[in-house]
Amino acid sequence: MNLDFPRLRLLSSSMYYLVMIVLAIPFLFPTLWMLTASLKSDQEIFQNPLALIPQSISWDNFTRIFHDYPFAAQYVNSVYIAVVVTALTLIIGALAGYGFARLNFPGKDLMFILCLSAMMLPSEALSIPQFALFKFLGINNTHLPIILLQIFGGTGALAVFMMRQHFLTLPRELDEAALMDGLDRWGIFWRIMLPLARPVLVAVGIFAFLNSWNDYFNPLVYLNSSEQYTLPLGLQTFTDPLGGVFWNLTLAASTLSTLPLLLAFLVAQKQFVQSMVGSSVKG
């Protein structure tokens, strides 16, 4: 559908394109510039910061971050944590979402309200008691707090909520027919509901992965050796002993932390956008 605003219509189409291109610059420029500046040599990056295209392309930065720094280990940490978080969030969230949408049990309403509150309140503001708890459990300085806090914090609660909303939209007759056919609740969930929930599972998966990939606060609180770091912390370790930043290395590492997501986004743009927006609007 096309909105009919006469004044906007007056803008000739070339004017419209001009406006849109100018508007898009601040959105695209930082990313583009990061990609190209990561190919600049030590000298060039300071001498000519305005140049979008490097004079000579140097892949050196990329080999150096793997050679001289534990960047590979940090990359692996980020990937495995994000994968574990995503998988567990999907399973636990789908189970709870199905329970809240389809079954009755004592205390259901209260539990759901608690779940909603976890979605709204910032888990970062709970970090003091959480830190004390993990210290008591003796798992500070491991990846465990980071994983657990993602699964059972705001992201997990959002997953439960999204799954519940989805299961509510499926017809009741499905469950009933399956019950007649002799499936138990677990069978209904596993064989009928989960396959039908694929679009939401994708949306929840994208959310969980991105949130884990972006998590900065918890690694900052719980990790203290650079081999344990995840990418958001690792990106800030390319410094000389005086604290001066090696910007070309930092930008090369930033590029490598961005590229997989950006490529995935370009390939599956529609899916990405639909899942993110669809899930947030449904309410």
Partner: protein, 305 residues
């Protein structure tokens, strides 16, 4: 084919709740999540107000201080400054984000051949990892060799030390964050915009309404439930921003919002009781703002019924 006796309606053959199936089955489904939520979320929520009543600086043991941490706050220049910075931050960020998102959604709603490209371009920062995005901005805003100041230098202007001087630091943080996140709200508004039925606009036009009247009297009211939710979510997001501010400014005073202040007290000075009191302040701010919005919503949110 002649119809025989109608089949028994489903509802009559449905087993009664709690009949053959235990009413506890549902509990098993939600149990894994609820257990984790209780231990890692609800427990800490209950612990925060209690911990805030103790003076607890690691490695010493906690000591009862009653409201001591709260009275300390009122005279702590650093904290009152943070409250002020947080208010400024929210007041700058939220309207900028919402108005820009609305404007961009209106522009993208005009169907052109490149609409898909522009939508993707404006949304793409959402996909870039927050810290990578913030680091690029930190480099671009460096005082001596940063892109912005080099450019300003060519025009003969001596640029400020963007990330360390008030008020530039806060402005820089807001701009960086709005560009990173506005794509999300833009798409949500675009969806809402496209749900406004065309007939409504036609009718308004026939009645002689101009474009501005159509937008403010018809389109916006129809979108108001979406705008309302988005405003609340954006306010909460603003109050909990930490990573980009910390990466950009290193937590210096020029942009030390409450979240940064809480981190400093808790994990730099290990002043756990005081940091808990600050957490509580952040919660209260959120609840108050959400509640206020909820009350005000009757004034401007329009529900079709």
């Amino acid at each position: 084919m002649t119809t025989k006796t109608p089949p028994v309606p489903r509802s009559q053959s449905r087993p009664r709740k709690g009949g053959w199936e235990s009413q506890w089955v549902g509990l098993l489904f939600v149990l894994p999540f609820m257990l984790g939520l209780t231990v890692f979320f609800i427990g800490p929520i209950l612990a925060v107000p209690i911990m805030s009543l103790f003076e607890w600086v690691l490695p010493r043991l906690p000591e009862w201080t009653g409201l001591g941490n709260y009275t300390r706050m009122t005279t702590d220049r650093e904290v009152t400054h943070s409250v002020w910075i947080t208010v400024l931050f929210v007041v700058m960020l939220v309207p900028t984000n919402i108005i820009l998102a609305l404007g961009l959604a209106l522009l993208l709603n005009i169907k052109t051949r490149a609409a898909g490209f522009f939508r993707m371009a404006l949304f793409s920062p959402v996909v870039v990892p927050l810290v990578a995005w913030a680091l690029v901005w930190r480099f671009v805003l460096q005082p001596d060799f940063g892109l912005v100041n080099v450019l300003l230098g060519k025009l003969g202007i001596q640029g400020p030390n963007w990330l360390y001087e008030a008020p530039w630091a806060l402005i820089a943080v807001v701009i960086c964050l709005v560009i990173e996140h506005v794509g999300m709200n833009m798409l949500i508004f675009l969806g809402a915009l496209q749900n406004v039925p065309a007939e409504v606009h036609e009718a308004a036009k026939i009645d002689g309404a101009n474009s501005r009247q159509i937008f403010f009297k018809v389109t916006l009211p129809l979108m108001s439930p979406t705008v309302f939710l988005t405003v609340i979510v954006t306010i909460i997001g603003a109050l909990k921003s930490f990573a980009p501010i910390y990466v950009l400014t290193g937590g210096n005073d020029a942009a030390s919002v409450l979240m940064v202040q809480m981190w400093k007290q808790g994990f730099k000075y290990f002043d756990f009781g005081y940091a808990s009191a600050l957490s509580w302040l952040i919660f209260l701010a959120m609840l108050t703002l959400t509640f206020l919005q909820w009350q005000l919503r009757k004034r401007w949110v329009f529900y079709e019924s």
